[in-house]
Symmetry: D2
Subunit: 474 residues, 4 copies
């Protein structure tokens, strides 16, 4: 998931900038997206299931009109496929003023908050965290003198990892969770428009210069009066940025907490080369997020870097997965080896992470069929040993291959010659030295920055929304 917002002026096309901003953040969520434009307090909104370029057409974008501010969101799919109904931003009509709310992240105490709210009379239409966030903020708003005060109070109740963007008729408010688990930054354009984004790559695209990351627990208010940072009375805790942002989630051209994601990944490859060296002829990366680390591994080890796997770039939402009755192999359809690169060679394959290990076996077979003599798998993430509570889709321990097998056993299972993981102590060295005060690597080392979720069984029978998974032509 990702948030994007712009506080500008009516002479600029804020809807258009938000479109391109969300497009740059598409990798963080492909299930649904939405934009709300604020024209002197009147909100115009459009959201739907689908990619940014599928949902928004010229006509729809034009229909949003001009305005001083805009707010956007891309959302990833959840297992229950309520893609359309879960699309954000969430819109609220309220006596204290209407709001549009967009979030990235996960509320750990969702069940407790929701139960409490329901017992106070609130009703829920979705299972999206943003609905709980909206209710908490709106209730605080009734007893606060301003929307930012309400957000501040709400953040003491909302436990988890999240970035929030809230648009009121007059203000655009950015907030980052108490530990800064999820990234959020802002920039400025030449003419003084402010742009807020989950990742810095979206700032570049719309012509904004990076100003700074929002701090853990900080609230930043963009309004006619300029930029106001609120830290006092805020729930600020030690920084614990999700290290998986560096390893997998963010785009390599983004800079988070003053460190280039590309560089962090390249460093992971270098650490990996030191920790798990092996004699080989070529280093290849699993596209796309293994490529940076592969370059680092090659540079550190002196073994040449090569293009070993080609990824089909036309995969879309409506792609038909090969089923049981066809001979085609899902991995083969997406990845094809460059035989010339691996034939007769000892190959080091750098991948970003090994969670369940299901694709490793197939990729190894692809490379063997293409003539690779030896295959050494190197993971630029350590072993996953614990579930994530903050929005990363790392499953339960039962699903995590590293909970059950040693690297040697995995190598045998995959048909590879060896398997090596990034040492867990190295993940704390991926960022720029001296700038980030801390990381969350709970999925690797079990050290969670917050308490865990309590399952009160609320969502078990939530309403199922039937939706077409596939776009049909007429």
């Amino acid at each position: 998931m990702a948030v994007f917002g712009i506080f500008g002026s009516k002479t600029e096309n804020v809807a258009s900038s938000t479109y391109y901003g969300l497009y740059a953040l598409q990798h963080r969520g492909q299930a649904s997206c939405g934009i709300v434009v604020n024209d002197d307090g009147v909100f115009h909104s459009y959201k739907d299931a689908g990619l940014v370029n599928e949902v928004f057409t010229h006509r729809i974008l034009d229909g949003l009109g001009l305005g001083q501010m805009a707010l956007g969101n891309v959302h990833y799919g959840t297992s229950d496929t309520k893609d359309r109904i879960n699309a954000e931003p969430m819109l609220i009509n309220h006596v204290k003023g209407r709001l549009a709310i967009s979030h990235d992240g996960k509320i750990v105490n969702y069940d407790e908050l929701r139960l409490d709210l329901e017992l106070q009379g609130s009703i829920f239409h979705t299972s999206n965290d943003v609905e709980v966030i909206s209710n908490v903020i709106t209730r605080e708003r009734l007893v606060s003198s301003s929307i930012e005060e309400a957000v501040c109070k709400a953040m003491y109740k909302l436990v988890g990892g999240y970035a929030l963007l809230i648009m009121s008729p007059q203000k655009l408010i950015a907030a980052r969770d108490q530990n800064g688990l999820h990234p959020l930054c802002y920039g400025v354009r030449d003419d003084g428009e402010y742009v807020i984004s989950s990742e810095s790559c979206a700032l570049n695209v719309v012509g904004a210069t990076f100003v700074r990351d929002i701090e853990p627990g900080e609230i930043v208010v963009f309004s006619k009066d300029g930029v106001k940072s609120i830290r006092e009375h805020c729930n600020q805790k030690p920084e614990r940025l999700c290290v998986f942002e560096y390893i997998y989630t963010s785009r390599p051209d983004s800079v988070i907490n003053n460190c280039s994601v590309h560089l962090a990944r390249k460093r992971a490859g270098m650490f990996l080369a030191k920790a798990h060296p092996v004699e080989a002829d070529v280093v290849i990366g699993a596209p796309d997020s293994g490529l940076d680390a592969a370059i680092g591994y090659a540079e550190e080890s002196g073994i040449p870097y090569g293009l070993g796997l080609i990824k089909n770039k036309y995969i879309g939402r409506t792609f038909i997965d090969p089923g049981q009755n066809v001979r085609e192999d899902k991995v083969k359809i997406k990845l094809n080896p460059v035989a010339e690169t691996v034939k007769g060679k000892r190959v080091i394959l750098v991948d970003d992470s090994i969670v369940r290990g299901t694709t490793c076996t197939r990729v190894v077979k692809l490379l063997r069929d293409a003539g690779a003599k030896e295959i050494h798998i190197r993971s630029s993430a350590p072993e996953f040993l614990n579930p994530c509570y903050y929005g990363t889709d790392i499953g339960s321990k039962a699903e995590l291959i590293a909970c059950k097998y040693t690297p040697e056993e995995m190598a045998k299972m995959f048909g590879a010659d060896s398997v090596g993981f990034l040492p867990v102590e190295d993940v704390f060295k991926l960022g720029a030295s001296g700038t980030c005060k801390g990381y969350c690597a709970a999925c690797f080392n079990g050290d969670y920055p917050t308490e865990g979720p309590k399952d009160l069984g609320l969502n078990k029978f939530d309403i199922k929304i039937s939706e077409n998974k596939q776009t049909e032509k007429n």
Copy 2:
């Protein structure tokens, strides 16, 4: 708007029956529709903007699966065109059990209720009455021992004209407003399945036999334990059925409060013939809802009935209205005279109602061009003199032509030879004698069964939802 529900068994396809039921009720709302299927407490739902046969495809209907109950709704368009977001039934996840709610009608004290709810912490996503209804019921549920008790208490707070269908995991609950302004009835199928519908015409279509109308203020609960009527402690007031249901809203093949709508319309034509006789050669009706009254006028007057106007039956949601730059006339495109019927004749044109009078002028011109010698307009409704608070789209006094002109002045304006309205005292004689205790004819005589709405200005800046009005091919 219309509601439709079925309480059956899993061996029947309740989604399919609801589809055909809603299809029979399509004339009550063309903007959006939806179906919720209840499979042992798990709700499967689909709703969208569009006609029933546009929204539901085989695949979507099959995707709703089988279940013991289903609930549906067709909704008409409102001026702000939030068609998709206003689609019903509304779905609620709640600690006291999930609910699906479908309504037909209008809550007069919407603004007061909503303000009160917001001040208690509720948030609103739509400007649809059903959201206020849902909140009132859910809050009562927290302090009630059953959902039906909550509905009963809520109905003391909800002032207006409405029919409600509420589905809980175990029950299907039907309720009609305190005055029975809006129709609601139920029937039974051979194998004991219950079918609840805004109009009886939908019972026939799904093979159910009419049992009875729900009474004003009555709550009927359909569950495994059979049918239970709740009247005690209910807010029951004298019956005041909206008489416009007979004149325009309902389908002629429906029976409401024991009176056939067709017969009521035919009677209107007969009363009209007595009140405003004129020498003429042929009686024609304005299709479709003027045809029944025209037959009555012809029968009473002895003047032959003729087919004088043909209505194009292919008008769909996406039809392009002729704009300023084309020569085509909107009325001409939809209606074409049968010249043979009117040429050289003295024509009586029976229409269902004259609200603003805009189309009258054009139809008179069509008939004159086709050779009609004299044109006498007869309206099977009396003069509209007051706005409606209960869901009929009768505008403010400023828009009502009868507030400004006499029938003689109107005839001159329209280019007709005379104009005659049904006398207001006759509307009370349209139904079956002795069965209906009373009607609401407030739009004609100003005698409202409830207090009027108070405008607290809440919705003025409600969020605008951009939606495509038109279906595009790719």
Copy 3:
């Protein structure tokens, strides 16, 4: 099928007029439609499967631009459902000038012409008659001095019943088959624009005044030089208008060969009343095309006319037919009786025709269930005894119920009290006296105006085109 064309000037929106013209002709073909605009010799075209208001959106219509002429078509579905590929007008790029061709009708010697053309080197992409017509005209064009000369020569080869509209860069050419089996007429607008249409009802809609029917075998050329009729050297034979145009095909507000279709139908009802009188309480029509004859029957017999069956007007292309696993009945979903009209009554039901008799049984049951005491079916067409070669969908003798059973046997089969057909001699009296020189009633009396088709087995293995029958939402 139907053709529509306009020869005007660039200051008028010819695409828009064609849209409304086709919309008025929609009843003649619901499978596909198309429009071609001619802008100084440059053709802009759009066509697709679907109704006129589904296929054409504002954007598509605007995209066709302005022009001096336009040509349109609505096409009915054929059993092989190649709806999109069969859409007309057909567009031809040719060294002698490009053409757009639109047709209504059927070529009897299609197989022989196509075989001959293929042996000369032509290739075929569809099984649509218009492709053979296009090839014949184009080949004649190579040896003719003008496009109208080519059309004239081609018409000696094309045996069948058809109306043709052909647009060249400079001219719009209308032609009607040698016997005038299919209707075609033209009108003029105030400012001198010519409008050509299969039926006159479409002239009214676009503001044109009827001028005259095209004669059998006549060619009329519309160009900058005005209107030129070509009859010399033309293949003109005695007029044999398809009488089924009066009974079923055309809209009641059209006038064909100087006779109102409504009046022809009303006359059919009157003849029927004389031929098959019966004592009864009410005359009802099967909507929509039985209504005119029912009024005629009522007028002649003196028995009151009533509204006995209501047809649901929201049936669209994507409507889901109830299948085997649901209890709903297809006839019930589309037609519902008005119980009040038929309960305890002796009912005369006037239908337009009885081909296979499948729906009769169901309608009789509907009326019996609604309480009808007696049901007398009267068909405003005679018994169908022969297949049609000219485009009416009358099947083989094996499918025609009248080839196998007497009216008495049918009454028993349907559960009706009696069945009566229009005497075949009366069909020749339906039109205006003295204006039409003759009719084709071959489906009733076997007297075909042309030779029949020879089956050379060419199409048996024609290419199947997969198309979605149903529009899916995303």
Copy 4:
């Protein structure tokens, strides 16, 4: 454009294999696509504008059914945007047997052939080369004893560069132009099914092993009797493979004429490093087709390879190009620099080709803004100096920047420090030594293997087909 075919058995799902095959060839054409399945001589087809995964859904693919053979095509867009009507394969119903034809390439003497055919009576519906090819083959078929004989004769008339796949009821026929300008190869699956494809990468995806390239002028017939190669009487000329297939068109994981495309590109980078060395800190490639050459340049020069530009991978057909009224820059939206890689560095940027030079200026600015100290552009193709007649979209001399400016002038225009092109003599060394007898590099050196086209002005006024460029949601 690309062709793909499979000759198998009904037990395999040939439609599904063709879907995945076309998906692997998507980079050769994004405008439209189509599949025809041959089930014992009955053809089932579906084609439309759009990407493979947009056009084909589960339902459409299932609707094509099972069969012994299938044929597919992906087509690129042409300037006149008749995407839907130009979709292939082309289907032909013909007395000598139906055919489906799919092609990749361009017929140089299109105008002469078409004029000749039209004068013989043929009509044309598209401006797609495949329609001329179809007519030539079909006419030859009338005077040949077999379809393969007709193809052989037709190939003497068809001048140009092309790959053809023709499906008759019993056979699948592959043919490559006289000079082998366009690639075509086939492979075999374990169970004896044959797979024919424009590029070998699609063989891997469907589990087929590469057998061999089709020879220039060769015809290969796949039928129940196995594989038959026809070279006798064929129009075979010296091989002249389009060298741009190596530089840009093909996928790096394909092997053409025994040479890996990746390796050819890497070699181009190496030759470039030798020809245009420069002192620098990092070598980056312009994604995607500049990456292979950048690796080669880095390896040869010893300068480290880096990830300098990130390409947004979510670009789809419906992406909204920023227009005049927005500040976003098209290049910025698609490409974003990795600042860390280039900041303060002397950068060598390897691009695949410089045709018009429009994007170079923008990319240079992107890198400068990201802090690059020096920027040296290296093109892995030589200077474009001549138009291409064989299907590569290289425009007229007036558009080619290398016809007007020296590399030094270009460097100044782009804001780069230097510009270097691959020496034209090196392009002949890109392939594997000793296997390819010759290349066409006419766009670089003007040495065309065939005569050029004659413009007879036929298409100037071809019919415009209105199509929506953009997919709209409802």
